[in-house]
């Protein structure tokens, strides 16, 4: 993974739009928890990124 910018938030998936805003990462709004899980899983597998849970309805993805 040389040359890649590490430890940036590369995507945000949330069911709670109030908890996030601005920033450089795309935000994916999910209608419910099941959809949030699905979007996060897809993004994780495609981007080889780890999904973290902020426990306020928001997941974010980053490289490690």
């Amino acid at each position: 993974m040389q040359g890649e910018i590490l430890h940036n938030i590369i995507a945000i998936v949330t069911t709670n739009p109030k908890s996030v805003g601005g920033g450089g990462a795309p935000i994916f709004y999910a209608a419910n928890e099941a959809e949030r899980e699905k979007i996060a899983l897809y993004l994780s597998r495609i981007l080889n990124a780890m999904v973290h849970d902020l426990e306020n309805g928001t997941y974010f993805l980053t490289h490690h």
């Binding site: 899980e37 996060a40 899983l41 994780s44 597998r45 495609i46 981007l47 080889n48 990124a49 780890m50 999904v51 973290h52 849970d53 902020l54 426990e55 997941y59 974010f60 490690h64």
Partner: protein, 304 residues
Amino acid sequence: MRDGKGPLMLENIGAVILGLALGFLYRLYLLRIDYRQYPSYPHGYIAHLSLGFIAALLGAVALPALLAKEYAAVTFLSLAAQQFREIRNMERKTLEQLDMSELVPRGPDYIEGIARVFEGRNYLVMLVALATSSLATFIPLGWSAVGGIIVAVVLSRLKKGKTLGDIAIVRLGRVHFRGALLFVDDILIMNVGLKDAKKMITELGIGVVIEPKTDDARATLANMGQRQAINHEVATLLGARKDFAEPEFTPLCRLNTETGRAALFILPVEPDPELAVLAVRKVPVLESAIRRPLDTIIGRKASD
């Protein structure tokens, strides 16, 4: 062949051959007991055996050459040392390249340690050959063979490094979640988001707690390279249930800085907790991770 002298050092040819043979056999033996699973292919063996042969020859020739007043031959020894340093570079480069496609990489510290071992082995071989041929110059061949074997055994003892089981108490830990945070006992491993991943981790994950016995061991465990080596070794021995783009299932070794305890989390292919504990105990302590704060006055004062 030289004018007037006949074949070079004919009177000592037995000593040279014996030294060469023992040195080469020692290299073969060192290749056999490799726990690093490397080199694991025939060409890797051939490369190391042929270099081992050269090392053995150089060691075996040294004293007979000196006695025959062949000083030019002796200077070749120093040239050889230069060559063997290249082995370290060669091994390092190969392993670094291979590491890029490892799911659980060895890490630079471990690679450096392996490269150093491969360089060192040639010097060991040279020493054994030198000792044997020197003995054979003065005492009968049979006895010098015994002497050479004793030297080889002593050297093997000396070069044997410690394993984690020697410096730490290794036991099973409880894998559990507090919210999104994964813990092994009281040691935080990581934050996991996906519910499916959490379920799999609680079902199949194994946690191993590594408790340092001394402050020296604590410093060693704090070394990132050492912990990466633990990940790699255990993943190699038990298998890691992980593919590319599944970062949640990467084995991780994290530290509790308050107690100095480290914990390994792994999702093994072979879900046998006892084997995981055994595997961690067998992990070598990296030379580059050895710290001895207790050998200094300040370190000793800080520890009480």
